[in-house]
Subunit: 324 residues, 2 copies
């Protein structure tokens, strides 16, 4: 196990002094992986503000808090995503500290001046070594260094130890239900994916990456809280929903959606982090680990869909194929 | 014209002293109206952080910056939205200042202790008297009081004068094209609505309010920047898109989406704030007024759809009809 994320944030903290702002920026699937860290700082910190936005929006209209005293965490799987590289450069120009995650050791994002963390991305890569885990590790250290009143450090470390086992067991547990889901719904014209709290990101990622990008399937992500203020009017027995039920204080919103779906919908798939074992992690912090479970679920469900629909997950018609 | 928004923020500023955080919170369509103010503070302020989130998420997991020194701007059209009322109460308990907008003078949100601004909502109500206008008025005053370096005060005032005329002319201009749109696409199973910058909110609102809620039409909102990192793989000659083209520095993202749609899609509707006259407002601030134009466009287009589809905009099967 590499301690580079922890070493980097300690070095940054020594150099920058107090961190006032944490920017989490990337594009698409990498942006999704940064959301739990954003939500964690929003919920826990009394000294830091966090910002989560697509990299291009940060470079065209940068916050005036993007300066010394800001930490910018970036991620680009391939490591050369133009918008993300530009965001990193702008952050450095303005005196902010950066940490850049990438899977590609030969890429721009892996260069030493990017404060890079090169992560592995194999089937057996531990959750704590993947971007969502690395972000939480960095921010947990930062909270400990900066906020004397922070009490969740050990619980988060314990969660980082346990997460991988939980995710692996969950993947085994849902294997059959992903096949059944694909068998029933492979030909659906459209579906909604609902989530809230730290896991809202996974409703978004399930939609834009797993289905829109990898299956060319139309769908829409919804926030469980917002569902009742408009989108639920589409609900009926013909519409398909996937509901991600997380933990923590946001769960009440997911539960309300479930109650409604039970009454007015017929086709809905519930993916419940509690049923999948997340409460092996302390309840004061396990909501931040639900997105790891849900990401693994999106992989499981999209693989079921790929096999049934015979639409390869890696098939692209534009990305990496044409100029745009 | 009532000066109550300006009077309220001056009173709050005198009582609270420096404002460090601006929270903008509501549900559904009212939340949509708060986004331009969020984006404005994010882009312009060097002393304030802004937060935009659905009211329930704020109450279940409140930021530690929700305290004295925070301004919370809320909106509930009907004035009794439970989540919004609870958010206002929590904000007050924690010592934050609030301003609550509502259309209903008999509602909880209109009570004096809510620091209420009761807005009219008639066809001829001026844009500056509607929630999007009121938010910009409040925040423009706040910026002027708090930031000596703020240079856009007069330009925003000028924009507030001009916005209503621009919107009214735009509505007339698009009348025929909304009919043609409805004629061609009333039976589409699904569409994507794309936007960015301050106007991203209108892609969201067009989707969740005008189509999902008021027409029971399935659709998905997308950020123009994120479109290229997944969602664009769905694009082909059979998919329908509506592209909201705003102004300001974010426009480059919308232009990139347009170039792509021109090449790879066949069915797309471009709603361009520049073509609709937004540049009568100074270019340093007109991006914050585009959402007013786009909201009027969502009304125009949904009315075209209502008439063709014979689906009344006010028909609901759940909201205000059943318990949930």
């Amino acid at each position: 196990m590499s301690n580079r994320p922890e070493e980097l944030i300690k070095k940054i903290y020594e150099e920058q002094g107090k961190i006032n702002d944490v920017f989490l920026t990337a594009c698409g699937g990498s942006l999704v992986d940064l959301y739990p860290g954003y939500y964690f700082i929003n919920s826990e910190s009394e000294t830091m503000h966090s910002h989560w936005l697509t990299a291009r929006e940060m470079t065209v209209s940068p916050s005036k808090f993007l300066k010394r005293g800001a930490l910018v965490i970036l991620c680009s799987h391939g490591g050369n995503t133009k918008e993300t590289v530009e965001a990193a450069r702008l952050a450095k120009e303005r005196g902010a500290a950066i940490i850049t995650m990438t899977h590609n050791p030969e890429s721009i994002c892996a260069q030493e001046d990017m404060n890079s963390v090169v992560y592995s991305w194999e089937d057996d890569t531990n959750e704590r070594e993947r971007p969502q885990g690395i972000v939480i590790r960095v921010l947990n250290e930062l909270m400990k260094m900066q906020e004397p009143g922070y009490t969740k450090y050990e619980a988060v470390l314990d969660g980082l130890e346990k997460a991988d086992g939980i995710v692996r067991a969950a993947v085994k547990k849902v294997q059959n239900r992903t096949w059944v889901f694909a068998e029933k719904y492979f030909d659906e014209p459209f579906l909604y994916i609902i989530g809230s709290g730290a896991s809202y990101s996974q409703a978004y990622g399930f939609s834009i990456c797993s289905l829109q990008e990898m299956q060319w399937m139309d769908c829409c992500y919804l926030h469980s809280g917002e569902y009742f203020h408009g989108p639920f009017e589409c609900t009926d027995e013909d519409h398909l929903y996937i509901l991600l039920m997380g933990t923590g204080k946001a769960r009440v919103m997911d539960e309300r959606a479930l109650t409604f779906l039970k009454k007015y919908a017929k086709k809905y798939e519930v993916i419940d982090a509690v049923e999948l074992g997340i409460d092996a992690i302390d309840e004061s912090v396990n909501e931040y680990f639900c997105p790891m479970v849900f990401y693994a679920m999106t992989v499981a469900y999209r693989t079921g869909l790929q096999d049934k629909r015979r639409h390869p997950l890696d098939m692209r018609r534009y990305m990496g194929v044409v100029e745009y």
